[in-house]
């Protein structure tokens, strides 16, 4: 048990409760999404001592400023917690395009209205006017002025259904700075890339593929895109076109259920990856999408001989 002082009021926690859960339980509105320390949407500020894991992935300047992930921090004896300055965490943006590309995926384009930078492969948090928040990967190349997002409609997905069902052109939203580890770096020079995306896990990888082809930092690029059904293999035409134009790029579209199709692979993605032939010691692997499959694919890739530091991932964790 501990006590949080937040905006002049005291809140008493239950045994083992996180700062986020305690505040939410006692009726305080705190933006949050994944509750797993991944999305960074629940950032708060403190002057009290905190655990290392509640600042995991934050920049040094944020750590110094006392910012922390409230979903990862258990309430200590006595903690002083503040709202961070929202202007440092979120900026205004506007929705400029919205197009359905399959029976469940919509491609949305967002234009930031203030200074914004990102590297292909990173994700942002989007906050709707009513405070609902969710992380989405950017599917564009580094430097794009409009951010392309691939959003899959899911049961009970408050924001994903909103994006899929409503007319949202010119709608204003807030976006966070970009985060995430699945990006190209100069250290990857001369290596091969193996990109594995499940569902809209294609989005960040689509950006990485474009960056990689443009910069020629890496040698060979293999992209495996897995989907439950054939219809979920959105963007297959433009990826096949990209494959034809670039001999360093190979694309493997794969689906689990339905009739066989020419030019596509039918089967389980984990089994496919187990048999996939690549040079394990010289390959950077990026794995994005459903967290359960990402976890399983990471182990598969590691056992194939890829060093753990060469395996980057972006599990699409969500509690909603």
């Amino acid at each position: 048990m501990g006590t949080i002082t937040f905006e002049g009021k005291e809140f008493v926690s239950k045994e083992g409760e996180t700062v986020l859960d305690c505040l939410l339980r006692l009726g305080v509105s705190v933006t949050n999404s994944c509750k797993s320390g991944v999305c960074h949407s629940c950032i708060l500020k403190t002057t009290s001592e905190i655990e290392g894991k509640s600042q995991k992935g934050l920049s040094d300047s944020k750590k110094k400023a006392g910012l922390f992930l409230s979903c990862q921090q258990q309430v200590a004896d006595r903690m002083e917690v503040f709202s961070p300055d929202a202007n440092t965490l979120f900026i205004d943006a506007i929705i400029v395009d919205q197009k359905r590309v399959s029976d469940s995926v919509v491609v949305v384009k967002v234009r930031p209205l203030q200074d914004f930078s990102f590297t292909a492969g990173q994700f942002i948090n989007i906050v709707r006017g009513d405070g609902h928040c969710r992380s989405y990967s950017i599917a564009g190349r580094t430097g794009d002025s409009e951010l392309e997002l691939h959003i899959r409609k899911v049961p009970n997905g408050i924001l994903s259904n909103w994006f899929y069902d409503e007319q949202l052109i010119n709608e204003k939203i807030k976006i966070s700075e970009a985060n995430g580890e699945c990006s190209l770096t100069t250290e990857m020079k001369g290596k091969n890339l193996l990109l594995i995306g499940v569902g809209t896990g294609l989005a960040p990888l689509y950006g990485v593929v474009q960056d990689a082809l443009e910069s020629s930092i890496v040698e060979k690029i293999n992209l495996i895109h897995g989907s439950f059904t054939f219809d979920g293999l959105y963007y297959c035409e433009r990826l096949k076109e990209l494959e034809q134009k670039n001999h360093s790029f190979d694309y493997y579209p794969l689906f689990l259920k339905g009739d066989e199709r020419e030019g596509f692979i039918k089967g389980d993605i984990v089994e496919f990856v187990k048999k996939f032939n690549f040079e394990a010691s010289n390959t950077i692997v990026m794995i994005c999408g459903d967290p359960v499959i990402v976890k399983s694919l990471k182990q598969t890739i590691f056992l194939a001989g890829v060093p753990s530091r060469s395996i980057l991932s972006d599990p699409f964790v969500s509690k909603y």
């Binding site: 655990e51 976890k295 990471k298 182990q299 590691f302 056992l303 060093p307 753990s308 395996i311 991932s313």
Partner: protein
């Protein structure tokens, strides 16, 4: 006289050993079921903490004590035979890295020293 940790090569040795060791753990039919369910990044961090400790290095392991940290595994049936396998794989890892038998013996003795706590027999 340098410490065991220094003789083994310090943090660099831990980094070199962790992938080899964890790969052995994940592939060993006798113990893999205790590990395959856990996220890899989290597991690698834990293995690094364990190896640093067993190598006689600075014990940075934070969070739960040995007993609490392994209680879930003891509930799942972990016993002395599984600890034996872990120590065996640790020795195999060091052998692969070219470490001599006498140092491997010292590492095994450190790992052995927490057997009781890990299995929940000592506080």
């Amino acid at each position: 006289m340098s410490t065991l940790f220094e003789q083994l090569g310090g943090e660099g040795a831990v980094d070199a050993a962790v992938d080899i060791f964890y790969r052995k753990v994940l592939q060993d039919d006798r113990i893999k079921d205790f590990f395959t369910d856990v996220d890899m990044d989290e597991q690698i961090n834990k293995q690094k903490a364990f190896l640093t400790f067993a190598f006689g290095g600075p014990n940075k392991y934070s969070g739960l004590n040995m007993k609490d940290a392994h209680a879930r595994l003891v509930d799942k049936g972990m016993n002395d035979s599984h600890v034996d396998v872990v120590i065996e794989l640790l020795g195999g890892t060091l052998k692969e890295l070219g470490v001599g038998d006498n140092l491997i013996g010292e590492v095994a003795a450190i790992a052995e020293s927490v057997r009781g706590q890990v299995l929940g027999k000592e506080g």
